[in-house]
Symmetry: D2
Subunit: 386 residues, 4 copies
């Protein structure tokens, strides 16, 4: 990927010391050289914001105490940021996103879209009204073999899809980690900051999005049985969800944060009339393809059966594992390509496929339907439009 | 295992030429030398019954044209059969089972119990009224590592169970194989012979039983979404089932016969408060145990962490794989031990754990509840008593 | 497999209480119903011989105190044994084998052929002079996917073979188990009973035979570095061997009994001009085939790409694992087919491929060359003819 | 990792358009933000050097046509480069490395050290005479679980090491790819540019280094059988090597570029008196540890049993795979830490463990001994000092 035009000037909201996902975004932005981080409102605590900015080598006058000040000041600079990464807890997505979209700054926002449907609507309006791009980091869609799976399904390699099995088990919240003061556990189990969904919102949305991304199917209804197995937990930590797709396909989704022995075991299996595909995030460089009546094949990233869609997002030879950060960086690279095309007035490159507003709204509808379904006793519930 | 007392005289109903499961039962019976097959009503077609009996070296006068004749004649012989294996299609389980139970002949019957609830009730009455044993070959419970998993759960190794994930995907019915004249596909997709459940009855009951066997939990309600994806199919070929257990644990069960690239991929995962266990039928010699806060361990059959429950059912050193037939033979070996104890008036050995009538009735209740739930739109349905 | 003609009358030498491999042979003989065990000299201790014979339900007059008596008596009976399984320690193979071969009784003998080259020569002469069959239980050749690998190589599926990697690591002798009184460890580490090779003879010969069986290549020279890592051990417990084949192919063989975490991890990899094949004994139902320039395939036993050679030795559907005992039973089944053909004067069935005298002699030459090479400082040594 | 002090100014020699490893070094340098690439002599073709420099956004006056000019000019600038990455073919390592070391510029050089022993000696002298650091990118040593393995061996977790099995099979050179014009295949199979070793030098040195890095053992002699299986190939494409270590441990190393179905399947297994460790590059986030008499454990990067040595080089939570680029970046990060410590006059941080001159010389001695051993008929050959 050429960087001739120079890196895109990037700001960041959130992601100060102690944060997790902010660091990931920074590496993803840096990995291919498409961005330079030049400004930040990295923490809601001014002191921490300043220290964090200095850690990252930001100029003193571009370390901001809050996102509003940053949006205003950067918009006023001739060398102001062109894009901003929003890596705050969920309830703090909408505010900064709207502030920057209003000013024409491209937004790269962590998922889920927001903590509430109201916020989601407000953000959606702002995004629709803006010329700037809105990118949602459902990062698992950036894995090359996920792209290949999507292309294979679209090309009919497994025929009409019948069954979708997607799961995302973790175990880090198998105990009441939120009571230990751990920051990550704190906000992710706090409905005020995370939203109504716990596992549902944090990882269920990733699973839901991945299934939709690969199959192209639209879910119309679901039946969700949510549980909070850990005493005192205020959000769900296990979600069993049955899905019905518009096409007649059926799905099952399982998201859990109490499944001992699972770290980030996101896994997708799709079965169609003429074949099956299986992919797992923890071994992301392989895609298993079982064509009807033939021995299953192990398609590897950059290997002999890799498709153009996989090859395009691959940096190194087959057998040298790429991982989570490279997949994340692929989203940033595609965003860069789209931003640059926008800058020239050209349409985004045809092959760009990063998730955006529609995916974010679908995720919010998913969380909302899960919570409504489960509250009513795990009854079938239509997926509305967020 | 000592065979000093001489093999148990065994008869067989069904299992003639072209049958599949009959051959499995014969190997299972023969493997440890506990049984001698001496009589059979091997087919409903007299000619085939005769040819099949000769194939197996049966004496001419012990090759029967029907099970009634066999029950009567064998009961009258001083050297008559002590036990009978029933390996017919589901709708032909109850008749022979009742005929032999009435005459005090121990019954080893293939699963599911019967094709209908009515038959199940009749069989249950006969079993309760008989002094003979009734053994149901939910054979996966015979795997040593399944026994170890059960013992570990019972001993609290993973704490109180929270989540049960069990699945049994296959792909052999991904096309309309029943239209090709294949006998196995024919009766298994015919409601008159298989019962109301397709995948649900054929493999779903295995998955349901395995989960209950390992966890000891009792399911009280389920929500089942059954599909027949193959055109013209008269029974379900994909079943998504959510489960609620009496203890508060939750489960998800998936049984499919249209999942390309899966052969007999029965897999159980159980997560408790302090650990997780994972086991897969296609690699049955390993049990993965993830204790909270420690690295997961790979416990192997006959390896350093094998439990007495596993060791008792193990024939060969660790690393030499035992498989499906050995697991099946373990059920037969346990049945032999119980039959011999019964012969001496002693209670069955304490460690014997083969499935029986209660498991069969639970399986029938499962099928029935699945079909009722799905028919009503996949609503939550209580598991009754079959 | 039809047993119309009635089972073959089988005797056994060795295999009394406490023995390991005798029990395996008995199950292998019984599994498909081709044999009936009717006589035995099961132990060199008369009391144990008798008790062991009773355990197995042998008639009192066919429980023998020594193999000579058994050979003589059985030869004199009209219903005398047709075949004998020899399952004694290595130094006790030649004596009984010769005694029975002389009397026209077919011999099924455990590996390696003998403990010494002299014994091997004597046994070879007896075998050549006899009309009876000599079968050597290099049992890993009985696995269906090993048969498929052999057929694929023969058919040119991977082109001319270049490189052979074969290994057989275990860990059970990582400590001085022979000092604990464990019978298996005792004789297997005693040069007087096991022969000059330790790991080399016990498992190295299996690995060497498997490579030859699959590739059809003849090794001409080797360079062996043997070690006894455990203090006081009198035979090698780790063997590194480089191999040169007549065809120009090269190989590496590793056999170890001190490789912690390995149980019976026999594994073969063969690479040719146009493809590669990989197979592992602990997951024996899968054969990995990597054709040049294509995605690797997972060929499963009884699955869609299984060859006739695999299918012929398969009892149950794909995905239901067969294991060590079934592979072992395949050798017994093939021996039965050959014995029956011999009985009718017909040639053995064309597809029969059990190992025999030539394989045994090749194994002895392998052990001998390894010991000579290593003693001389691990120099290249020609493989003679044993 | 803090970047407060601002990135280290980095130059690059080699790595222009069409190169492979140059891009890897650039990502590795960029990933953690420790370096800024500001100068380059990216190709020996001036036009390509210029175009490549522009691709990377270098200032026009810092795009050089050759490394000598670059060394001179950069040394003269107040803002001249502090470190240089040398990513040319092997025969072009020594020249630039010496030029920059002489001028006090830290050198990060790709492996193997050089193409010839003479060059290696010259480079060694220059490195010893210089105050600058010399870092050799045996990048596999940068994987966190490799670090943990090393720490565990050092701490006695598996006891005294007995056996080392290391292998690096690939398949990309299974055909005469060098005849197709592919640049990578061209120079890597040309003795003038790659050196005397083919697979031996390109990947065998990685395997050899990895084994030494993890075990801390010093190899004293080897026996190497090298082959060129592809017609017309001028260097070895398959290497079988037996190793003897000073401690009495034994090893086997296999490097192959003709092993169909293997991409970059570097794998290390180490067995000691009380346990075993296994690690594979294609699934680098897991380390298998088998303690004597216990079930093997799967230690994961950032999981519950990760050691401080692994944790220090980990960026993201367990289960999110890190890969080749992160391992490579760890070498760059450690080099940065050492460079910064050098800048302050402090010793390098105690935990820094990147490979350097000694490893490079050991690799050269390995290649040399392999070639000499094999030329003489695969005889045992002492490993000299390069």
């Amino acid at each position: 990927m050429s960087t001739t035009e120079g890196p895109i000037r990037l700001g960041m909201v959130g992601g100060g010391r102690d944060a997790f996902i902010g660091g990931v975004h920074r590496i993803a932005a840096r990995l291919d050289g498409h961005y330079a981080l030049v400004a930040g409102a990295l923490s809601s605590t001014p002191e921490k914001a300043r220290a964090s900015g200095r850690d990252l080598g930001l100029a003193e006058d571009r370390i901001y105490a809050d996102f509003e000040a940053m949006a205003e000041a950067e918009a006023a600079r001739p060398d102001g940021i062109e894009a901003v990464a929003i890596v705050t807890p969920n309830h703090m997505h909408a505010g900064p996103a709207i502030a920057f979209l209003k000013r024409g700054v491209h937004v790269i926002c962590d998922k889920p879209l927001t903590a509430t449907l109201e916020d989601a609507q407000a953000l959606a309006e702002a995004a629709r009204a803006s010329d700037a791009l809105f990118v949602l980091t459902h990062n698992y869609t950036g894995y090359p073999m996920v792209r290949q799976a999507r292309a294979m399904v679209a090309a009919g390699a497994i025929g009409r899809v019948r069954v979708v099995q997607v799961e995302y088990p973790q175990d880090w919240l198998a105990t009441a980690l939120e009571d230990t003061g751990l920051k990550q556990a704190g906000w992710r189990t706090d409905p005020a900051r995370a939203g109504a969904g716990g596992a549902t919102g944090d990882i269920g949305t990733h699973a839901f999005n991945l299934a939709a991304f690969v199959t192209g199917l639209r879910a119309t209804a679901l039946c969700a049985d949510l549980d909070s197995f850990v005493d005192g937990r205020r959000v769900d930590d296990n979600a069993h969800v049955l899905l019905r797709y518009e096409s007649g396909a059926k799905g099952a989704l399982w998201a859990s944060q109490v499944a001992h022995g699972n770290e980030n075991a996101l896994r997708l299996r799709v079965y169609g009339e003429t074949g099956g595909l299986e992919w797992a995030q923890e071994t992301p460089n392989t895609l298993r393809h079982a064509p009807h009546g033939e021995a299953p094949r192990l398609i590897t990233r950059a290997g002999p059966a890799a498709s153009p869609e996989a090859a395009r997002l691959t940096r190194i030879p087959a057998g040298h594992p790429e991982g989570y950060l490279e997949g994340f960086a692929n989203i940033y690279a595609e965003a860069a390509a789209a931003i640059r095309a926008r800058g020239t007035g050209a349409p985004p490159p045809a092959e760009v496929a990063f998730p955006g507003l529609a995916d974010g709204l679908a995720g919010m509808a998913f969380i909302d339907a899960c919570v409504r379904s489960s509250s009513a006793g795990a009854v079938w519930t239509e997926l509305g439009q967020a």
